[in-house]
Amino acid sequence: MVSREKGAAALTAQSTLAIEASGLVKVFGKTRAVDGVDLAVRRGSVYGVLGPNGAGKTTTIRMLATLLRPDAGSARVLGHDIVTEADAVRGLVSLTGQLASVDEDLTGRENLVLLARLLGLRRVEAKARATELLEAFGLADAAGRLVKHYSGGMRRRLDIAASIVVTPELMFLDEPTTGLDPRSRNQVWDIIRTLVAGGTTILLCTQYLDEADQLADGIAVIDHGKVIAEGTPGQLKASVGSGALHVRLLDPEQRPDAERVLTRELAGVHLEPDPAALSASCADPDRAAQAVAELSRSGIRIADFSLGQPSLDEVFLALTGHPAEPDAVAEEAAAGEEQAA
């Protein structure tokens, strides 16, 4: 009896984790693209892997999706080893790569029918499924058009639709909103939320901090192939310390003045990528209100302001000592290494 209970307990422990990776390593030439990554992702959660370009996110995802063999370490996806049971893993997961991996020379409908047939649906079922997905993803009108004429947002939606032709238990999403306009980005986010509500586990790689903040239950921050921090978005923010006052100005030219005022009133003033926005460390709402009042007294016109926890941008800066800006050179170098390998 005891042993059976133990067995059941072990099974439960195993089945609560969708991904368990330990010490994953991948080396391309001299670059250690992934340098000992450990991950534990609960079933039914959205887990964000956050890091700048070239940090090793894509390589990690490609190993977990059985596209690359790790040089060291091991991982189990939905209970199956990614090397010795790769085929079983492939039967349960789907991958939405960084490039919208749909066939541009086919129509949207043909892309979905193709995948449905490859996944084992019969011809009639495949057609019905394609129609159902095209409608669900707002692509019914474009179904007969070649994908090369699709917009970036439509292409990405088709890509995600292609990934759920057979509802996967685990979905890898590699930078699903890179290059999309804000509107398409919100659409993709809504789709991801619906997927999660339906019970799919999602591993989301992103270089956008607000994306991880919006969607993920847990986040691993990764830099130079290593996990440098892990936790919920709230925990990560708390680890950096106090909250912040975020201010956006009507006139970006007034930002230097605003910076002076805030430096005087508060501390830790940080200029945001948005040329009209800046933030300052501040945990006390009264002092924040005072600072805002001081800004308007100085003739600085404010578009909006908010008092909140630090952004993940600040978290990243605090953790790595460098901002999470897209680093095109590093990415190209990494991509080159991968091609060469």
């Binding site: 492939r90 020379d105 084992g120 509107r183 659409q187 619906t194 339906g198």
Partner: protein
């Protein structure tokens, strides 16, 4: 502050209720068999012929120009009359046009690779070589079309082969089988090189001289001895000779055997190589 998000929410991106239903409504079907997956990839190749006919035109326009130019410019000088030369050159050009098309198998694979489509195919639970074998089967239809264009042009210009339709079909079949074998060389190249253009350039750098240094255009007797020796053993010459033979009803079994043997050898070496590279990209 919330004004920014209002318009984006109202956009008809994805119908949430429909999406929920779509997610809930599938149970996992039994896996596609190796044959079914391969044929599905072949279907994809044929769809491409339908949607991107330019690619087929690209490779048939050159041979069509060659037929016209060589027949009417050089035909008289080379063979005494344009009609005699057409009988000689048409099976050769058939070989050339189909073999040129094989380069595109490598180009297409490299395009899939650079666009990320390969990643999706490789993450599917299907027989691993299915995308490759299926694409080449689809491409064989393309080879058949390229060959048919040349034969039809020939007939319009007055080409009347002795062995009739049966001979033409046999020649076409032989050329397509050889092309299937040869295309594995280009798929290997397609997985080794970085861009579709690089594959195209390298492919034609190989296939162009090999085609010209064969008996496609002229009888090798007129060539310098060293060159003649090369042309005689060039598999493309043997393929052209066998095709002529089949169309004229004078084919030699030995030639056909060499052609089929070469195709089998190319497949035996380069198909496993392609599959291995494909697993690792």
């Amino acid at each position: 502050m919330s004004t920014e998000t209002t318009p984006t929410r109202s956009a008809p991106a994805a119908d949430e209720a429909a999406l929920r239903k779509a997610l809930a409504s599938t149970s996992r079907p039994p896996r596609a068999s190796a044959v079914s997956a391969t044929l599905t990839f072949g279907w994809r190749g044929m769809l491409k012929v339908k949607h991107v006919p330019e690619q087929l035109l690209d490779v048939t326009i050159t041979p069509v120009m060659f037929v016209l130019m060589f027949t009417y410019l050089f035909g008289g000088a080379i063979a005494g009359s344009t009609g005699d030369y057409l009988d000689y050159i048409l099976p050769g050009i058939l070989v050339m046009s189909v073999l040129f098309t094989t380069v595109y198998s490598g180009v297409a694979l490299n395009t899939d690779l650079t666009k990320g489509v390969v990643d999706r195919f490789r993450s599917l639970p299907v027989w691993r070589p299915a995308p490759l074998v299926g694409s080449l089967l689809g491409d064989s239809v393309r080879y058949l079309l390229a060959g048919t264009v040349i034969v039809v042009l020939g007939v319009i210009l007055g080409f009347r082969p002795e062995a009739g339709l049966g001979g033409v079909l046999a020649a076409l079949a032989l050329v397509v089988v050889f092309a299937f074998g040869l295309s594995w060389v280009f798929t290997t190249l397609g997985l080794l090189l970085r861009s579709p253009n690089a594959v195209m350039n390298a492919g034609f750098m190989g296939i162009f001289p090999l085609t010209f240094l064969s008996n496609v255009f002229v009888e090798p007797e007129t060539l310098p001895a060293g060159l003649e020796a090369f042309v005689d053993v060039n598999p493309i010459s043997i393929l052209a000779t066998a095709s002529r033979g089949l169309m004229e009803g004078t084919a030699e079994v030995a030639d056909i055997a060499i052609v089929l043997g070469t195709a089998a050898a190319l497949t035996a070496v380069f198909a496993p190589l392609t599959v291995r590279l494909y697993r690792r990209v």
